[in-house]
Amino acid sequence: MTHLAYILPAYAVALLIPALFAGDAWRRLRRARARLLVLEGGRRR
């Protein structure tokens, strides 16, 4: 395959950036769910 030195970084960037966003979203969701559970659980008691 020709131009591999350009193709591989292009694919790496295209995979890495959405993966970083997905990781960040997943962390935010998990943290918010846990926090909300504590706060709303406390409110209902």
Binding site: M1, T2, H3, L4, Y6, I7, P9, A10, Y11, V13, A14, I17, P18, L20, F21, A22, D24, A25, W26, R28, L29, A32, R33, R35, L36, L39, E40, R43
Partner: protein, 259 residues
Amino acid sequence: MLGVVDVFSPTAPPRGARGLHRFANPGRFLRLAGRVLPWASGIGLLLAAIGLAWGLFVAPADWQQGDAVRIMYVHVPAAWLASAGYMALASASAVALVWRHPLADLAAVEIAPVGAGFTAICLITGSLWGKPMWGAFWVWDARLTSVLVLFFLYLGHIALTRAFDSPERGYRAGAILALVGVVNLPIIKFSVDWWNTLHQPASITLTGAPTMYLGMLWPLLFTALGASFIFVALVLARLSAAVMERRIRALLAARAEGT
């Protein structure tokens, strides 16, 4: 002006926006997003994986570009989503400004970083294609420059929405910037027709037959559709988190007022 706690109080929606306001209820939105998110992520990942493998290993090399044409399978979907994402950002901003939809301002705030990310992919992969094809990573071509302006508009929106002590003022300033920036979208689209550019004109249009070999077109459509689902999934996940974070702030504010 919507306060943090106001978002969760039942206020009558303006006339003409009742359909939209059905999803203003955070609980209803979170339930809907929770159902759509696994499907959007799964379909997006599957289509993108098929399209990327097809483009990388099965689709033929171009007779002029050689294998560098394979960069197209990541560059073109990112370019389409950079523009489509900005249209979504501007639409959410318009809904927030006109109808004061309580989720629209949050949607705009969460779309902007994802749109900036896809615009960055478009610019970086375009540079990586440009070096072997044009002999330069960057030229001040009308298409490249207008997409760079789009990237700065996204960054400007991200900065502006976070620049005020009152989030609502930030949302409003960001919404105005987003609407003004829409003027850049036709410039991006028609830059290759209006000016004499190095960047090639569109190979796929809504009105005419594609000028691309079908063996290259199919993997491109798979990656484009897959990337679109992934974009939607990322925005939905971020927006769900933002809705919950807003509720957390409201609960903490209510608790602070009660003590």
